[in-house]
């Protein structure tokens, strides 16, 4: 690791800053703001960077050595990374892995993503843990605090889903059941999991109406993960309410939150969210705990479920937050975490099998 000097800063909206060196796309003025969040996964940076759910976020990796196995052609979870920045302790410029094609900083440069290394990421993580996630931006150290603070006073955008979702339907042919994947910013591995199960998948834009979805005669609909606040897309809720009556439904992450909202439950913002590959989730029915991969800032309020037709199926073992819901009347269920993995453990891939079962 070569420290080129501390001349770049990560500014937090409360005026606190951390200094490091630019290792991603070069920048000479304030970068686009993002919500700064931390992820505790020790592997999987390529998947994380390319996960559309990180749209408009600046991601801090808590593991200190990032980029050691490089970047390869297979591990992307979307075509274009949507995050606003990456913060690491040390980036590896000389990766080693048989699949590696180029280095992480090459990737960041290619997609114009600014990044800093040399940051005490543990200290930053503790700060975020205490103060909560907040707006942030990167800037050279010659930019004044006032200038950055003025910029960070602006509100965050609320159009993340529309920016990362597909604009047109895309068909991935398969010989089995047809599944419509509603794209709020889906990860490729959700698609891979469906294709692996021989599904015929149609990915549709997030704002598709019921009719345009049902015209594909789906055996089931999967509501994908996606970035931002679920309350930013209220137009989706009636669509989901109707869909669950018509076809089996599975929902992941953002999809799960929308499914809950559609059925009358409420969501709230967590202080710093859940991001990592080690979150224990207890399945209430089987009394088994699974390791899950998570990435969310918002969660369904547990106390809002009682009055809905939803049933709590899974909880987070650590903070008892809502991890899984099922509709009492319809074959529809949702999980807050990422059963598709990539990155993270594959413990809950059985949920896709359960979805397949529900489509029989």
């Amino acid at each position: 690791m070569d420290f080129k000097g501390n001349n770049m800063r990560l500014w937090l909206e409360d005026g606190h800053f951390f200094e490091g060196q630019s290792v991603g796309a070069p920048f000479d003025k304030i970068t686009d703001m993002g919500e700064v969040v931390f992820n505790t996964s020790m592997t999987g940076y390529q998947e994380i960077i390319s996960d559309p759910s990180y749209c408009d976020q600046i991601v801090v990796m808590t593991y200190p050595l990032i980029g050691q196995y490089g970047v390869n052609k297979d591990d992307f979870e979307s075509m274009v990374p949507a995050l606003k920045g990456l913060i690491v302790h040390e980036i590896c410029e000389t990766p080693s892995n048989w699949r590696s094609e180029y280095s992480l900083s090459d990737l960041l440069k290619e997609y114009g993503i600014p990044a800093l290394q040399g940051i005490d990421t543990r200290e930053l993580t503790k700060y975020l843990r205490t103060k909560g996630s907040m707006k942030a931006a990167l800037a050279p150290d010659n930019v004044s605090k006032e200038e950055v603070m003025a910029y960070l006073k602006q509100p965050m955008r609320k159009d993340q889903i529309s920016r990362v979702s597909t604009k047109h339907s895309i068909h991935f042919p398969g010989e089995g059941k047809r599944v419509v994947l509603m794209d709020f910013g889906y990860k490729k591995n959700i698609l891979r999991n469906l294709l692996k199960r021989n599904c015929d998948v149609v990915v549709v834009p997030w704002d598709s109406d019921v009719q345009s979805i049902m015209k594909f005669k789906p055996s089931g609909v999967l509501l994908s993960n996606g970035p931002g606040d679920p309350k930013d897309v209220p137009t989706v809720l009636p669509v989901i309410r109707k869909l669950q009556e018509l076809t089996p439904l599975m929902a992941i992450c953002m999809g799960h939150q929308l499914f809950a909202l559609a059925n009358g439950a409420d969501t709230e913002k967590l202080k710093f969210g859940h991001r990592g590959a080690n979150h224990p989730v207890l399945d209430l029915k089987s009394d088994r705990t699974f390791m899950t991969s998570q990435n969310h800032s918002y969660a369904v309020r547990k106390d809002s479920i009682a009055a809905t037709p939803l049933e709590l199926t899974q909880i987070n073992l650590n903070d008892e937050s809502v991890e899984g819901l099922a509709h009492k009347e319809f074959p529809a269920f949702s999980v807050q975490y990422h059963p598709e993995a990539y990155p993270g453990p594959e413990d809950t891939q059985w949920l896709f099998d359960a979805f397949m079962q529900s489509m029989k």
Binding site: M42, L65, N97, T289, Y342
Partner: protein, 1060 residues
């Protein structure tokens, strides 16, 4: 699931003496398990033969049995105690094998005792090569092609189908004893033969070698509900081919993508489920560096050395959790003891890098084969924690205490590149240094990677360190920015000082001036996601420290003893733990600095704060500056800690306990002589000499034999007993480098009974808990001799003299704390051989047998509570009725080319204790516990040196009376015949086809008695014979005193068979 209520009483089996492949990690896991069970209200009975363990402390379990770990002794304990269950998954392979044989013997079923943590089927499926392979095939997990064989011929036939290289692994052996990689038929034949011999069921696995693959390990835990989690994965610096215990290991994995990581993670979960393990398990993988092909190498269905490492690397206490699972609890109901806010059912996230570096005994065993393979050779290990991989490597190298403060070995640096490139292809203990030297000499990383299969990432990191050396050397004096960058890569002040030709203290002063200091971060299992109060810290070069929770109490720092090595083993960790406990009992805060991941002292629950750091002046001072203790205790961490006293003192640190002057007076030869002269206490006459000629002259006065040793040690052949001028000359020519600064010490060798005392002094009163008598005469290192408490052959008057001398010495040295004094009684006179103002190897043994927690009493004395205040007396404690014998335990079978003959250099790795009310019974237990195959009858092979012939005759006659028959070589044979002993003759080595070696290899004898002869050829013949015995597991005794002890135990057991 709450714990099984019917389990009210559980027997925990320990792992016995420390041997290579099974060390202090099982004291750590066993102690944790006992605490964990007691926490749940279970009554715990513990059995272990190793007194130098915390687990065998009276206060640890409800009842502690220090007894031999054999089926018959444990059966008796089971009958007496009638526990509801037996927990054997925390005592290494020893305990697991015992569980298996207890189950097979039927005693468990007969008494209705459950085997906890795993069942027979699990053990068999994981340990039996054939069953394991079948299971893997059944669940679709890849294993390399292999055959299970009981004959060499089958192995050869298999090789004809598969080709070479192949790997041979004997079944059910510790640390893979007897196995190896073979490249041709001849090697295959030899290794298979040895492997079959080593295996208790005469079974070997011969398989396709996957040497060169990445070696990856996963630590897994599963509960009865089928919840499965990974605690940690690890990646070896050394590719497959080097035993994982001998590998440099990083945690977490460094070159695995998430897909690679999850591929193996999912496989590990599948395997632990298929084996139905409830508790901890370790799965080892070989992963192709060029594809995603992987193979399962091995599974340990128990807590292992790797799980101790994983526990320390992550902060997740595997053994503690595994014990709770064994009594029926599940992961989702056990609290995470680290965060105390989350549950044990999660996978730790690290925000640092851990480097484990093995510690090998080749400094002591210079003749040993240093090459590393499937047979583990390391005696211990260290761990370095940091935020960069480079720093983790350099911290671990500094922790090794092999005289290095950087990744730089003088020997390697002197070699030419071709030699280095050649050497690095044969892995040995110095390979990382060879690689570094080659990089310095300009070898390309690609070339090194090709030759060694070491991953480019690791080579690149070493290269980064070397590139920094160049940058530093480019400027003529230290520059702040550059020094800061070097520190982030882990450079020590010592290395920086060397580069700039400054003193270490000058670099430190510069850093202070520049305000460059390390920060301290917490190991919290969750990468700071949750708030945590773990008192577990490491230093690193980053921006901010984690805050310490201050209690306002005064703090005392205890220095640990570093890695386990020959001569400085678990005994010192034992004392360290007791010191910590005493400090806490006194209401002060105890802070420990140590770097050994295997031990109890580095369990963060033991102290108020644990710092995982190298034990060097720089690293220790950093902690002191952070913590500001009232002082530092150096007397429990062996020579490691004592050696730091002077430099710490020079830096203004208060050394608590015996002061520096006291330490110096005992260590400085001249001052020590003066002291004894003042006290009118005799010591063997001796001189410091500066040449062979001078030595010869002094010996005129001293007379042969003499003990010679260099004041400066090269290579480890430190001390020898020399019998004539020729040997003396040889010694001067080969073993030592004499210089005006480094004289050779020549002392009269006094043959006689050796005695040892550990005493506690509070500066005024001296309390002597007990006296130990050595069974072997002076000349055998005290660590290698049998010892007995209380003395059996020394009269009260002499004992009084020993007590008086000890008291006088302790008082004159102004000892505060522990002191160890060694004596020899020569012709009725008492001579003092050595005084160590610190905790010694015998402290745990003596503490156990006298029931005086010596290290604890000593610590309290150090902190100002007098011996009298603590309820002890000035003088000797009344002897107990119990007799205890300490027996040394060796790891010779694992270290080929090491002479098993005992001498002044220590060779044992561990010890056991035999206790009973009768000396011979205690002795007998000690023999059995030490694993010495005591023959009840049979044939004895005898070759004794001329000097011992006279002494040997009465012993031979007693053996004869016991019904033994004899085989001897010519000289001994003739002598025996002269004395009317029936004996057959055997040819010396190579004098006939059926020579001594043939006799031993064909197991034509049950006991070998061989005393050291002088003269080159005879010595090498004796060496071959002793090695042959070691490899065949035949008891070989090289001291007639040990033989006599053995005879005593046999006589005690034999019935008189005389007719009326």
């Amino acid at each position: 699931m709450p714990r099984h209520q019917h389990l009210k009483k559980v027997l925990v089996i320990g792992s016995g003496p420390i041997v290579i492949g099974q060390a202090a990690e099982f004291d750590y896991s066993g102690t944790q398990a006992v605490h964990s069970l007691k926490e749940e209200g279970v009554e715990v009975i513990l059995v272990n033969s190793n007194p130098a363990t915390i687990m065998t402390d009276e206060e640890t379990a409800d009842k502690v049995f220090i007894e031999p770990l054999t089926t018959s002794f444990i059966s008796r304990i089971l009958h007496q105690e009638k526990p509801d269950g037996v927990l054997a998954t925390l005592g290494g392979q020893t305990a697991l094998n015992l569980a298996l044989s207890l189950k097979e013997s039927g005693v468990l079923d007969r008494l209705g005792i459950e085997l906890l943590g795993c069942n027979m089927e699990t053990i068999q499926k994981a340990e039996d090569r054939k069953l394991f392979k079948e299971l893997m095939q059944e669940i679709g997990e890849p294993v390399p092609e292999s055959i299970i064989t009981k004959t060499v011929e089958d192995a050869v036939e298999f090789s004809k189908k598969i080709g070479f290289p192949l790997i041979v692994r004997p079944a059910y052996t510790l640390g893979g004893t007897g196995g190896g990689i073979v490249k041709d038929e001849e090697e295959l034949r030899v290794i298979t033969y040895k492997g079959l011999q080593a295996s208790p069921i005469n079974q070997c696995l011969v398989e396709r070698s996957i040497a060169g693959f990445k070696e990856i390990e996963y630590e897994v835990i599963r509960d009865a509900k089928d919840n499965c989690i990974i605690i940690c994965n690890m990646e070896n610096f050394d590719p497959v081919g080097v035993h994982t215990g001998d590998s440099i290991v990083f945690a977490p994995s460094q070159t695995l993508s998430d897909r690679d990581y999850q591929l193996l993670r999912s496989s590990a979960l599948k395997i632990i489920r298929a084996l139905n393990i409830q508790g901890g398990c370790n799965v080892q993988y070989a992963l192709d560096a060029r594809s995603n092909q992987y193979y399962v190498i091995e599974v340990n269905p128990r807590v292992s050395r790797s799980s101790a490492l994983a526990s320390k690397a992550t902060g997740y206490p595997i053994a503690k959790i595994a014990a709770k699972i064994a009594i029926g609890m599940s992961l989702d109901e056990i609290m995470n003891p680290v965060t105390k806010k989350t549950y044990a059912c999660f996978e730790p996230a690290l925000d640092y890098v851990v480097c484990k570096f093995p510690r090998w005994p080749f400094d002591k065993f210079v003749t040993a084969d240093r090459r590393l393979g499937t047979q583990m050779k390391a005696t211990g290990e260290v761990m370095g924690i940091a935020r960069t991989l480079e720093e983790s490597i350099l911290k671990s190298i500094r922790s090794l205490e092999i005289g290095l403060s950087h990744i730089e070995l003088e020997r390697a640096e002197k070699m030419a590149l071709p030699e280095l490139l050649d050497l690095m292809q044969k892995p040995d203990d110095e390979r990382m240094f060879i690689v570094a030297a080659a990089i310095r000499k300009g070898a390309s990383l690609d070339e090194i990677a090709q030759l060694t299969n070491i991953d480019m990432l690791f080579l690149q990191k070493i290269h980064n360190i070397i590139a920094m050396e160049h940058k530093l050397a480019m400027v003529s004096s230290p520059e702040k920015e550059l020094i800061h960058k070097a520190k982030k890569l882990g450079f020590s002040d010592k290395k920086l000082a060397q580069i700039y030709k400054l003193k270490e203290s000058e670099i430190r002063a510069l850093r202070k001036q520049w305000k460059l200091s390390p920060v301290f971060k917490m190991v919290d299992t969750c990468a700071a996601e949750f708030e945590s109060t773990t008192p577990y810290f490491y230093s690193t070069w980053d921006q901010s420290s984690d805050t310490l929770s201050e209690t306002g109490k005064q703090k005392v720092i205890v220095l640990g003893s570093g890695p386990i090595r020959i001569g400085q083993g678990i005994e010192f960790d034992y004392a360290t733990v007791h010191a910590i406990k005493a400090i806490r009992e006194m209401g002060l805060e105890a802070i420990v600095i140590n770097n050994n991941p295997e031990t109890v002292s580095t369990d963060f629950n033991i102290s108020d704060r644990l710092y995982f750091e190298p034990l060097t002046t720089e690293d220790v001072l950093n902690v002191i500056e952070q913590e500001k203790p009232i002082g530092v205790i150096v007397q429990f961490g062996g020579q490691t800690a004592i050696n730091l006293a002077e430099s710490l003192h020079a830096n203004g640190v208060k050394i608590l306990g015996t002061d520096l002057d006291g330490i110096d007076r005992s260590e400085n030869r001249k001052r020590f002589e003066e002291l004894l002269r003042e006290l009118k206490i005799a010591q063997p006459l001796g001189y410091s000499v500066f040449s062979f000629a001078e030595a010869r002259e002094k010996i005129q006065e001293l007379g042969f034999p003499v003990v010679v040793r260099p004041s400066y040690v090269i290579g480890g052949r430190a001390m020898e007993i020399v019998y004539d001028e020729k040997e003396l000359e040889h010694y001067f020519n080969t073993a030592v480098k004499v210089s005006p600064e480094h004289p050779v010490l020549v002392d009269r060798y006094m043959i006689g009974r050796e005695m040892e005392i550990d005493a506690i002094c509070d500066g005024k009163n001296v309390f002597i808990p007990g006296i130990m008598e050595h069974i072997e005469k002076a000349g055998v290192h005290s660590g290698d001799s049998f010892a007995v408490y209380p003395p059996q052959n020394v009269d009260i008057a002499t004992q009084k003299k020993l007590i008086n001398f000890t008291t006088q010495i302790a008082q004159s040295l102004k000892v505060v704390g522990l002191v160890n004094v060694q004596f020899v009684i020569h012709k009725g006179e008492v001579y003092v051989i050595e005084v160590n103002p610190r905790s010694s190897r015998t402290v745990p043994f003596l503490s156990k047998v006298t029931k005086v927690p010596m290290a604890r009493v000593a610590t309290k004395a150090i902190l100002g509570k007098s011996i009298i205040e603590q309820g002890y007396v000035h003088g000797h404690k009344e002897e107990s009725d119990e007799i205890a014998v300490k027996a040394p335990v060796f790891s010779f079978a694992k270290l080929t080319e090491v002479d098993t003959a005992l001498g002044p250099e220590m060779k044992s790795t561990g010890e056991v204790m035999g206790r009973d009310l009768v000396f011979e019974k205690a002795l007998h237990k000690a023999f059995i516990a030490a694993g010495i195959n005591v023959p009840q009858a049979g044939t004895v092979l005898i070759t004794v040196a001329d000097k011992d012939k006279e002494e040997s005759i009465p012993l031979i006659k007693r053996l004869s009376a016991l019904g033994f028959s004899f085989i001897a070589t010519k000289g001994t044979c003739e002598l025996m015949k002269e004395h009317g002993v029936n004996v057959s003759m055997i040819a010396k080595i190579d004098e006939a086809e059926k020579d001594i070696i043939w006799l031993i290899r064909t197991q034509g004898c049950d006991l070998v008695i061989n005393t050291l002869s002088r003269g080159k050829n005879v010595e090498s013949d004796g060496f071959k014979m002793r090695r042959a015995a070691a490899e065949k597991g035949i008891c070989c005794m090289t001291s007639l005193d040990t033989v006599e002890a053995l005879i005593k135990t046999l006589e005690r057991q034999s019935f008189d068979l005389s007719p009326l």
